[in-house]
């Protein structure tokens, strides 16, 4: 079985896995990083969102063989100012219900603010449209992103 060198949350790790193994299962089963969630497995719900070189990607549809040189960040590893502001806003508005989708929601929102520090409502909707929340926390997520953006601005 081939081995792969990865940089995850600034740590260098080596894993042995089949080339088609999605990054999601490398994180969860091989490395015990269970913050990244499985829900649809086919790239349409956003629960498994991680950052790959700063871009939000769906880990369930990202085979390890395609993870070349690059930095992977997961919910356990993000700590820059955008994610801090977003978490504070999430807490202030008591956003999660079951909470299962929110690792992915926060990863998508962090990637959004990195590219667009002052997103409009429409831009928030577009950036977040790949993340399903079954419990119905959408309007709180929208408000939390706006709140975080405002706080970062001020």
């Amino acid at each position: 079985m081939p081995t792969y060198q990865l940089t995850i949350n600034s740590n260098k790790v080596t894993v042995e896995a089949d080339p088609d193994t999605p990054l999601l299962w490398i994180l969860r089963d091989h490395l015990g990083l269970t913050g990244t969630k499985y829900s649809c497995g086919v790239g349409i719900c956003g629960s498994c969102t991680v950052h790959y070189n700063g871009n939000a990607v769906r880990a369930c549809s990202f085979p390890i063989a395609n993870v070349e040189e690059g930095e992977i960040l997961t919910i356990e590893g993000i700590s820059e100012k955008n994610s801090t502001a977003l978490r504070a806003a999430w807490k202030a508005l008591d956003v999660p219900q079951c909470g299962y989708c929110h690792s992915g929601q926060i990863m998508s929102a962090t990637a959004l603010l990195a590219k667009n520090p002052k997103p409009s409502k429409a831009e928030i909707n577009t950036a977040m449209s790949g993340n399903i929340c079954r419990c119905g926390t959408y309007s709180r997520i929208q408000r939390a992103i706006e709140l975080a953006a405002n706080n970062l601005d001020g």
């Binding site: 089949d18 269970t34 497995g41 997961t74 008591d94 399903i132 997520i141």
Partner: protein, 731 residues
């Protein structure tokens, strides 16, 4: 005032708290853990240590309804605890906790007195000790901020300093609850106790459980409903690297399709066990199976609905007030409409999973379940275990909505762990989740009304035909398992009322969905009332209020009545909040619906915009709720927002269709859920009162779909009598 007979000394010294600090989930970590603190247990639910930290046990499964926060809030309130020095620990399943399940919006209803009694006892003992110490009469002392205080003199003693002496006292004979107007924790917006862990990926959901030496598994179930096992060739699956075993799951070897009233057994299929989830998923796709489907009816949706329609003519009367047939014959006007509702799936975000470590004499389970009791019963039945041989841990759950009331997936995992002789984490794929759900029953409703010369309803008939979830789940003693019960609205409001049920047998697996049967009956009744209003050229809210009549106690059945004024109040309030009647842009419309469920009253106004391409956009929803005392306004509003969104999603898109015995949908591409850009603004207001708190998980859902359908009528003049709305196009 509640009589309490137990006079034993009820406070136990449980050892040092530093040990306790290592288990469970902490909201605030104790910074100063150098000195081991002594910890006293006041009840299984309350522990206080000599450093002032209070540990409260969250006993019910947390499925996203916020119960892990709200039940401890009730304890903390009644105890007089400082919420900032409270730690919350999730309990395992244990008989001693009573009522340890999630479903039917019952958790707060059933635990309100239980929580308050446990905490009031502890508070009273602490007050008793403080009274002696301060030399003040008991009735002048109060508990606040984890102290017993004497407001007149300003003196006080922290709980921590009273523990040792308190532990020598016996439980108070009677408890007196705090008055509602002195509440400081209940009624305050409080973020979930697991908030930090939810935001940094550390919260442990069922699927995140890790046990040493565990392996991973998935299943491929016979896609045909009520199908048998098959002949399979597992060679290709076994050749996938990492695969450990391929195992047949045959429920005939374990009690058959059902394992008790309301308890479906696991579904026939094949499991793959591997070193990691991905290997199991990949191998399951390579299974070559020839299923034995001789037991299945191989149904199709069209055919099922045809049978429902036919069955409308052959029913049992479930309730009859006055003489409905005669009143309809004598009515000035009669009106009739038929509504059709589809099968619906639950699709919780976290797919079905369970981790089991089944050793020869003990079975340890980490189960995302709403119903740990059913899980225990299932293990006892399937494996002839005694309760002492079973440990059930309750991790957080990524949504349940009724799906996790059934423990079929946990039975899968137990069988596999027993077979492997080591811990197994079973994870179903999303596809298996959707194809092997216990669906909300589809149904057909024939509504008939008789009206007098003034347009007032004098007779009401609701005839429901479907395949019953009760029969599907083998509920004992009620073979035809009616899906319309005698409590159904508008029982008590119309002099001549008849409720009828026509039962059809089917293989489609059926179960509880949010608000259970009310999700369908309320749609029919509340759309029908809107139609009657329009027929009478009346304003729908005015017509509805007229229909309810005077504020009074409404006798629903012999031993049950409710206060119509509470329903009237939420309706009037939502009318005002939504600017009902004010003008809207062209193509827009407002719709209204209101109902009572689980003791709570909810009224909703939905505003929609329908563009020239018939694309429907839900613009906003106004909701007014009377659920009695609101324990946590933040979590409560979340339940209302979630229930409304679920009702709207299902009405717009939700549908499971069956072809040749197989559910056709399989993932979020064909079982659609609303995305952020589609989600409306939802404004929620609670009626403030001091009545005991009632259910909130379900009550906001039933009015959402009829309010939406009524809004579409207001916008377009077209009536929705069949759900989902968006398929294929507007009628």
């Amino acid at each position: 005032m509640k009589k309490e007979l137990d006079r034993r000394t009820f406070i136990k010294l449980t050892g040092t708290a530093s040990g306790a600090l290592l288990v469970g989930t902490h909201i605030w970590s104790c910074k100063d853990e150098k000195l081991p603190a002594e910890q006293y247990e006041f009840s299984p639910l309350i522990k206080i240590d000599s450093e002032g930290w209070i540990t409260l046990i969250a006993k019910n499964p947390e499925i996203g309804q916020g119960i892990k926060t709200s039940l401890p809030m009730i304890l903390a309130e009644e105890l007089g605890a400082d919420w900032n020095k409270v730690k919350v620990e999730q309990a395992d399943f244990d008989e001693k906790y009573e009522e340890q399940w999630a479903g039917g919006s019952f958790a707060i209803i059933l635990n309100w007195d239980l929580m308050r009694t446990a905490a009031a006892k502890a508070r009273q003992v602490l007050i008793e000790v403080a009274s002696k110490r301060l030399n003040k009469p008991i009735n002048e002392l109060i508990a606040r901020n984890s102290r017993i205080e004497h407001p007149q003199s300003g003196e006080g003693i922290p709980f921590a300093e009273l523990l040792q002496e308190a532990s020598k006292l016996s439980a108070p004979e009677e408890v007196e609850f705090k008055s509602v107007d002195s509440y400081e924790i209940i009624g305050k917006k409080t973020p979930q106790v697991d908030m930090d862990e939810l935001l940094n990926g550390k919260a442990i959901f069922g699927l995140d459980v890790q046990v040493p030496d565990m392996c991973y598994a998935t299943v491929l179930k016979n896609p045909v409903h009520n199908g048998g096992v098959g002949k399979f060739d597992g060679a290709a699956a076994r050749s996938v690297s990492g695969v450990l075993d391929v195992v047949e799951l045959n429920n005939q070897e374990y009690g058959g399709r059902l394992i008790g009233p309301n308890s479906p057994n696991f579904v026939n299929g094949i499991a793959v066990i591997a070193n990691n989830t991905w290997a199991a998923f990949k191998a399951a796709k390579l299974l070559n199976v020839k299923w034995d489907n001789s037991t299945s009816r191989r149904e199709n949706t069209e055919q099922i609905f045809q049978r429902f329609h036919q069955q409308l003519a052959d029913t049992t009367i479930e309730r009859s007030d006055g003489n409905t047939e005669r009143a309809i014959r004598n009515a000035t006007t009669t009106f009739e409409a038929i509504y059709e509702l589809p099968f619906l799936a639950h699709v919780p975000m976290e797919p079905m999973n369970c981790t089991v470590d089944f050793r020869t004499d003990h079975c340890e389970v980490w189960a995302p379940t709403q119903n740990p009791k059913a899980l225990e019963e299932g293990l006892i039945r399937l494996f002839k275990l005694s309760p002492e041989q079973i440990t059930i841990h309750l991790p957080r759950i990524g949504g349940a909505f009724g799906r996790r009331y059934y423990v079929d997936y946990a039975m899968d995992a137990a069988i596999l762990s027993k077979k492997m002789g080591r811990p197994v984490k079973l994870c179903w794929t999303r596809e298996e989740d959707i194809k092997h759900d216990w669906y909300r029953p589809a149904s057909v409703h024939k509504m008939v009304a008789g009206l007098d010369g003034e347009g007032k309803v004098t007779a009401w008939k609701h005839v429901l035909a479907n395949a019953s979830r009760k029969t599907s789940l083998g509920r004992e003693g009620n073979p035809a398992g009616t899906e319309i019960d005698e409590y159904e609205f508008p029982a008590g409001f119309v002099p001549n009322l008849q409720l009828e049920y026509g039962h059809v047998l089917s293989d489609v697996p059926l179960g509880q969905w949010r608000a259970v049967g009310h999700s369908a009956t309320a749609f029919s009744a509340l759309c029908f009332l809107d139609e009657l209003a329009v027929l009478n050229q009346a304003d729908p809210i005015a017509y509805f209020l007229d229909f309810l009549g005077e504020p009074r106690m409404v006798p629903v059945v012999d031993d049950y009545e409710y206060d119509a004024s509470r329903l009237i109040a939420v309706v009037e309030k939502v009318r005002d909040n939504s600017n009902w009647g004010s003008s809207l842009p062209k193509g827009w419309g407002r719709g209204f619906a209101a109902s009572k469920h689980s003791g709570s009253f909810v009224a909703e106004v939905v505003t929609v915009a329908v563009d020239t391409n018939e694309k429907i956009r839900v613009v906003s929803v106004d909701a007014v709720v009377d659920c009695g005392i609101v324990v946590n306004p933040s979590g409560a509003a979340a339940q209302v927002e979630g229930g409304i969104l679920e009702g709207l999603c299902a009405a717009l898109y939700g549908e499971i269709t069956i072809k040749d015995g197989v559910s056709e949908q399989s993932n979020f591409n064909d079982y659609r859920w609303m995305r952020m850009e589609e989600s409306p603004e939802i404004k929620v207001e609670f009626i403030a009162n001091e009545l005991p708190p009632r259910g909130l998980g379900e009550p906001p859902l039933p009015p959402a779909a009829p309010a939406l359908a009524n809004a579409i009528f207001a916008a377009t003049g077209r009536r929705i009598r069949k759900l989902p709305i968006n398929k294929p196009a507007l009628p």
